[in-house]
């Protein structure tokens, strides 16, 4: 009898122990994640403002903020710009460029690799306000470096192509993460398989598709999940264009800031934030489903 009981009591003790270990983390998550999220939901139902009477005594207005946001052309434009920003700068830009750099540098050693990686990393680790000033200096209409190089004096990059500017900026800024993640992932690809494929006459594209990609599929999805969510919530572009001109680069985080902070409409801003949260959850859920289905397929 006893041999059967011993593991059970051990399991119970360890269950209690693990509960003790988990509680502090749950409390932290509750205080810093769940409560603010619920608070955002509540704020989104009120007409709370930063100043004025509605700051002292906010009234519950029900779903009015949500209805207004969904019917607001500025919100819908902003959502569409955010989709462009995420697809352009994260999914196409950072992920593709990051992979390309990692692929090209995979077998290299020596100064070229360290210098390239160092420069890409530098763009990632510099403080965003410093980086923003550098880019303003680069793209400025009068006396910007880019106009000096291209001999296009007076060309207003930030005004004529605000979305393109912040997309290129964000690719430059965030490629390091994808590069490092793919760099690590590529080490999982057995060199013998690549060698075999090469000897069998597979082109680079075929090698990538049939040898490399199956090995790093999980990494690709994880990378896309992370950079999509980051980019969706990225505020750095504000320092370049502040959402302008006339809202033509007003991605959702900037829209929320402009409405809630500059415009003082905290309740409305909270409602929009909650909508963004829902979009993020949907995106995360979709990626996780993909990851899981991949996990189920693999053993078979």
């Amino acid at each position: 009898m006893s041999p059967a009981e011993v593991p059970r009591s051990a399991a119970m003790v360890s269950g209690k122990h693990s509960l003790g270990f988990v509680v502090p983390a749950l409390v932290l998550i509750g205080v810093f994640l769940v409560f603010p999220a619920l608070w955002t939901v509540y704020l989104g139902l009120t007409d709370h403002r930063l100043t004025g009477l509605a700051a002292a005594d906010p009234q519950v207005v029900g779903a009015a903020n949500y209805a207004e946001a969904l019917g607001d052309e500025r919100f819908r434009t902003s959502l569409w710009l955010t989709v462009q920003f995420v697809l352009g700068s994260a999914v196409l830009g950072q992920a593709v460029l990051g992979f390309a750099i990692a692929w090209v540098l995979r077998d290299r050693r020596g100064p070229l690799k360290s210098v390239t990686e160092g420069l890409v990393l530098l763009a990632w680790i510099l403080p965003s306000s410093v980086v923003a000033f550098l880019w303003i200096a680069l793209l400025d209409r009068d006396g910007g470096t880019l106009n000096a190089i291209l001999h296009t004096p007076g060309f207003a990059w930030l005004l004529d192509h605000p979305m393109m500017s912040i997309i290129v900026f964000n690719v430059w800024r965030g490629t390091a993460f994808s590069m490092m993640l793919y760099g690590a992932a590529l080490e999982n690809v057995p060199p013998s398989q690549l060698e075999t494929a090469r000897l069998a006459g597979a082109s680079t594209l075929q090698q990538l598709r049939d040898v490399v990609f199956p090995h790093i599929k999980g990494h690709v999805l994880t990378n896309l999940l992370l950079i999509t969510l980051w980019t969706f919530n990225d505020f750095t572009a504000f320092q370049l264009t502040a959402g302008g001109p006339e809202g033509r680069s007003e991605i959702l985080p900037v829209y929320i800031y402009n409405v809630a902070m500059s415009g003082g409409r905290l309740g409305f801003g909270a409602a929009v934030s909650f909508l963004v949260l829902v979009v993020n959850l949907v995106l995360a859920f979709a990626y996780l489903r993909l990851l899981r289905s991949r996990g189920e397929v693999r053993p078979s």
């Binding site: 302008g244 001109p245 500059s262």
Partner: protein
Amino acid sequence: MRPALAVAAAALLTLGACGTGSGDGGGSAGEGVTLTITSNSISGGKNAETADWTAEWVIPRFEAAQKAKGRDVRVVFQPSGVDDEQYKTKVALDLKSRAGADVIDLDGIWVGEFAQAGYIKPLAEAAGPEADSWEGWSRIPQAVQGLGTFEGKRYGLPQGTDGRVLFYNKALFRKAGLPDPWQPRSWQEILDAGAALKKAGVPVPIQIDAGTAMGEATTMQGALPLLAGAGAEIHAGGKWTGASQALKDMLGFYRQVYSGGLGDPRLQQEARGRDKSFAQFAEGRIAILAEGDYFWRSVIEPTAGVAPMKDRDSVVGYALIPAQRPGAGIRGQDFVSMSGGAVRVLNPNSKNPKLAWELLSFMHSAEATTSQLAGAARITSRTDVNDAVLGADPMLKFVSDEVLPLTAYRPPLAVYPQVSVALQEATAAVVSGTSVDEAAAAYQRKVESLVGGPANVAG
């Protein structure tokens, strides 16, 4: 070895800071109190003279005066050098979380909404009855006191007032064959001068602030003086101005400037457009620029300005802003202006409200006000100081003698800043090519939704 040393030194410094921090923050008067002042000014940057005055004159003198009374008081200055809207957000968030400096610098126009939100209290409540018996009140004209007053209660001490004029570059005017001194008598004369300047090769003849990126500057330097020149105030007789003829005339002037090549529409859209316009005026690229006397004393000031002009006194002229036509302005005036001004308020959450009031009233004493001038041009709130320094600077004298008698103030209503944004959006639309009627109609809809329906808007 060296990094390790640096880390050790930093750690020691931090420890030292903690030590003094806990000693000073000890609370009860008598054994060390810390007061904090904040304003949107920073040494070497925005409104540098206020920052320097606070750090070099106010703080040492106040600390010394307190020491003489046997109190150990330390005063800290929290500088800021950002756009006014960002500063406002920061202060509102500070006050909302019951934190922030003890003495806070605010634009007078924010007093209403801050008071309604409960962020600030009337001085008599925050500091006690001594606030109402302060010696300075008798020295401050009613109109200027109004800057810090909301619903009949005094919330802040006004620092002074200002007036808007047209600044112009005399050198560029000479090049275009225009007279000096120059005083346009109608909007058309401004446009004519602009056309002449353009012909003479001036890249940007006229800068009238427009668009949302410039924030309240657009409203104060452009929309409201033009509206006043067309005979309308933004709020009159209990109603807000809607898409009236005066509003359309105002937008029409913008259109003439910005679609006729007399102004630079892109400058109005850029995130740092206003700062750039200052730099371009200083470089002689902009010929006519509408601004408050702030521009004279803080922007193109030869030594401490953010866009200094060494030859300011000989090259820069100033003219009254004309009405659309002679006699077409508000109150039948030929010339118009707008005025505002900053106030200083007490933080109702201050741990030492009495001492904070002592500091605040000290900062507004005749002695402090005079020292803040330090020979520079500024219309202070105190008539006793103005009387003594008037005439020291021709610009100060001009604003005080010519501009203030015909100026107007913004309505001290909490919803005003939102109406102001609606005006900015209307100018932005016109500058980027929307027709005047379309922009005016959009403005009318926006204002109606802001102020509680068409009944509160005069069409």
